[in-house]
Every structure is written in C-alpha cells, then in structure tokens.
Symmetry: C2
Subunit: 360 residues, 2 copies
Amino acid sequence: MTEDRVYNFSAGPSILPEEVLRRAKAEIMNYHGSGMSVMEMSHRSPVFSEIFQDTKAKLRSLLRVPETHEILFLQGGATLQFAAIPMNLMEGGTADYAVTGNFSKKAAKEAEKYGTVHIAYDTGDTGHDRIPTQEELQLSPEAKYFYYCANNTIYGTEWQYVPETKAPLVCDMSSDILSRPVEVSRFGLIYAGAQKNMAPAGLTVVIVDKALAGRELPFTPQIMSYETMIQNDSLLNTPPCWCIYMLSLVLDWLKEQGGVEGMEQLKRERAKRLYDCLEESRLFRLHAQPGSRSDMNVTFRTGDADLDAAFIRYAAEKGLVNLKGHKVAGGMRASLYNAMPMEGVDALVNTIKEFERKHV
Amino acid sequence: MTEDRVYNFSAGPSILPEEVLRRAKAEIMNYHGSGMSVMEMSHRSPVFSEIFQDTKAKLRSLLRVPETHEILFLQGGATLQFAAIPMNLMEGGTADYAVTGNFSKKAAKEAEKYGTVHIAYDTGDTGHDRIPTQEELQLSPEAKYFYYCANNTIYGTEWQYVPETKAPLVCDMSSDILSRPVEVSRFGLIYAGAQKNMAPAGLTVVIVDKALAGRELPFTPQIMSYETMIQNDSLLNTPPCWCIYMLSLVLDWLKEQGGVEGMEQLKRERAKRLYDCLEESRLFRLHAQPGSRSDMNVTFRTGDADLDAAFIRYAAEKGLVNLKGHKVAGGMRASLYNAMPMEGVDALVNTIKEFERKHV
C-alpha cells in the first residue's frame, strides 16, 4: 500500500484495487482526450456507449455468460431486486427460499408481497453458522424459482455447491461474484450489488435468462421489468455511468490477474492463511462451521465483547480497519474480497498472533 | 477551461464545475487522511456518515428546506419516481398531471398502473412549445396530487410560476433544481435526478412532506416506500455513496458562488446572452414561445436538418460539444446548467454569429 492507504476489511462498500483508483484519478478530468470526465458524459454519447458496451463484453467474457442470458446494469441494489425478482418471476405463485442469513431472510420477506414464499431451509436456529446440504433442502414441486444467497457476509458462510432444483435458480452473488468460475447456464438469474467485488456502490448487475423475462405482474414499475430493461439494453433511463466505468477498470485489472480462475486461487490462499491462523488460535474462535466457511468474509470472536473491541482498536492502530462484525452478529469480520492484497492478509495474521501473545 | 477540456452542453449527464472535479481528483486515493477512497467506505462508517449528514445539511440550508420535509438520497432516477410517486401518494385514486414534455408524459403513463390519471393540460398539440397558464389548468376536485415537470429539457420550456392547486404539488425539478430559490413548503414532493445540476448520474434527491408519507399501496417495494426511507434516513440499504460525496463538493462550490440566488442571477445572464443572439439571428429560430422559455435548455434550429448538422459539427470543432437536440425534437439544444461558465456561453454566441455570417 502506498499514499498512506490502509488495509480495508470492510464488508461493503469495500476495497478497490489501488491500480484501478490510480487509473480513475489519471482520467477523472479528461477521459481519453474527450475533454470531459466520465461523470459528465451523456449516457447516449458515442464515447460513453463504447465504455458501456465494452464493460458488458468484458463481463460476459470473464464470467462466460452464454448468449441465452442478458447482462443488465441497474440501480437500487440487492434490496430493489428483493422485490423485482418476485414481481418478474413469481407470477403470483410459489417460490422456494433458502434462508441462510440476513439478506436471504429479507429477500424472502419482501417476496411475500407478491406470492407464496416457501422456506426450503432456514439455518437461523444455529445462528446461520452453516449452509444446508442438498438433501436438507425442502423443494416445492410448483416453485417458480429457487432463491438463495451464495455468500453470507454477516455470518461468514458460503455455498460450496450449486443446488440441484427443478425450478430455475435465482442467486444473490453480491459478495462472491467474480471470485470463482460460475456455470451461468445453470442459473435463471444471478444478481450482485457492485459494491463488494466489482465497483463503487450504486450499480447492480443482473444476469438473466432471457426465456424467463416477460412474466412481470401488471403493477411492476417499468424500470423493474427485466423484459423492458432487456429491450432497452439497460438504457431505459440514465444508468449509473461512473460505477459502470469503474467496473470496466476493475475488469481490466481482474483479467490481468488471471480472470476468475486467478481470483479463485487467490481467494483460497487468502482464506486459508487466515483460517489456519484462527484454527490454531487459543484466543479466537470461528463462527462458521467447517464445510460452510466463506472465503470472502471470515467471522471470528474471542467470546468477550470487551476483548473483541480491544482487538479491533489494536488492529486499527496498525492500519487494519473495518474489522468490526455486523451488529446482528457481533465479534469480528474480515472481508477478503478480490482487491485485498495478500500482504493485507499476512498483516492481519501477524496482528492476530501479536494480540494473542499479549492476551493469553 | 484548462487541461484541454471542452464546453459540454449536454442535457444530462452534464458538465460539472472544474473546481469540483479537481477536488475529487485530489481526494480520490485517500479522503481526508482516512487511508481510503470515498468509493471504498462502508456506508455506515463514521467517516462516510459525516459526509452523508453534512451533504443533507448543506442541501437543506441552500434550498431552505423546512423541518416538515425530509430529504432522501435514493437510486433509480426519475423513472423509478414515476412509479414511486403514485404508489406512495395516489392511494388508488385520481391524480392530475400536466403534460408539457416527454418526461411528464412518461410519468403520467406510468401512474396509470396505480390509479386514475387526469390530464390537467397537454401542450402536445403545439410540439410542447409552451407552458399552460394557471387558468388553463383543469384541476380535479378529488386529486390526490398535482404533478408537473418544472423544466422540460427536450423542448426547452420552463414553468415561470408555481401552480396554485388544492392538491399537494409534486414536481420533477431534475433539470432546474438549485438554479433558483424555491419555496419548498408549497410542495408536497420535489424530486430530481442528480445528473444535471447536482452530481453524477446514480443519485435521486427526493424532498417530501413527511405528512404525506405512510400511504403506500401494499405491494410497494420496501425501498420505494417514502415512509420506510424516512424511518431509515435513506440508509435502508447501501446508498450511491460516491454521488452523494460529489453532490457535497458541488454544494460547497455553489455556496461559494452565492447559493441559489447567485445561481439564479447567473442563469438569467447566461440565458439572456444566448436568447438575445438567437432572437436577432436571421438563420436560427427558437422553438419555445416567449414567456415559456427555459433558462436551462435553449432549443433552436435553422429549419434545415443538414444545416443543423453542419452547425453542430462546426461548433464541435471549436470545442463546443453535445449541441445536438434530442431525437424527438431535432435541431439544437444548448444546456446551460449551473456549472456552465459564462465564457462557454460567450463562445457559443460567437460561434453562432460566425456560422451565420458564412451561411446567410
């Protein structure tokens, strides 16, 4: 890290590659000789259209999105998708929801406004410390789709498998998209808020099987209709242009790092170093159960809230910031997104060991 | 203009003050010693909370928003508000819409999904070249609200008065907010996409009378409920943090320029210089009628599409860009938002005169 920057373990919005920020800085007053900032460009101008189409093409290539699926650049975050998904896909019928954390719970609750929500599994009774197995999932024969959240930032769990279901899979990949290869054709819909692994907050990427579009409820706002947004190539109205541009820079960086395969190797290595340290620890213990642990968000605690707070302060003094766990989970959470350099993980491991030596 | 920048007459997204871009550039890698970019900050961190609250306070002060009204920072642009407004305020009843251009027409059409739309006036029969008078407005006694668009970017017209209605006023001020003082207490709801006079695309500012909240239809998405967003101070989910930060920089700049009173003086002077030139012209004619003309978007044409295109090319060669009119209106459009320096207007006036000398 340079320019007095910190290691930022925030769960989102979160760290961006320093190289990406440096490029944005260089181009912020005058993008590629256009005489203006990307923030000042008409979304229908040739110069911005090129950024837009290029970003889509790069994402399609990196995630190997088949032509059956459209990529949409939307606004409103996961929270708007909690409503858009049932409005577009539920047809007033039933959908299966796997509740493995805070966000899938919120998604299920919102969907109740638009049809019948069937909870396929709820891990709430053990504090969302694990992911259900395929066998545990209770699937409805009439489900219009099966909904799950691939990675649970708050509790630090991650699905290690793609569920087998008859109904189309709908997956919130907000916190692990682009961290591993995904067989997109297996999904009816994938979506992700950009602010964890992709770009600044304000952009939501939706990848939808075009065959599922056109079934929205009559009162669906035009901007929330996948069919309408597909027809307009996301440009029914002004998109979040700057975030799309930032995504484009992140995708260039990601490609140079070896694409999603490169990201997967790095994420496994980052997580391994931190989990190994915490498993050996006599002071800290992990929240998530083995086999369900997230490579993106590592949740741990001492069991003593004051000691947790002392650790968070100790780390912050060393430039390791935003390690406090989410308010509903407590303890600590280290988010290890794509942009987190390995030195950041090593610095955290060393800090954990130092703190432990002083307190055990 | 420096750094080889152009005069950008785009209708939106549009020009930002050069000084604002310069500040953003200086802080992009490390905001105020935080060690991170604003794009990387948790929206619930103390450092971002300060930016958020400070931006709200500055906007409240500059627009003199009374305590009866809440300021919301949302996503989805005007297009999402086209649905959110009737979902929240129409109660399945009737609302009056004044159709004076493309965007009020779209708003009225979207509202039909949620209740009965009564067209109070439609200026479509004369190509939306004027604003109706108070006497022409046909108001329904049972209207839940009266909707209008204060400034029509495509046709270059602007309401020179605030309508008198029994029903609460709902106004789209996307393209003239912060360009003149507004008596906010007269409005039930004011909203504006940020990408014209405020900030980069991706932020929608809503100023709503709190007494009107809490009447949303049962299927309203949580994120579209004004009541819910008021209760959560816009932070139900992650807001478009970078756009809010950019708005904060724009508001600082605006205050230094004399606030909305200063902006009003400048906008009248910019518009006067361009309208005077075009009224004297023997080549160009204005689209909008006197008394209805916009200070923000000046629409003009030669009457010959090829000559219009030649003018647009001629101006672009001189660094005056994005003068092409909207596809539904044709001709030229010069957007003179707050950030347009007077030298840009003078350069356009000179270019018009030069072109005229060559072609008359």
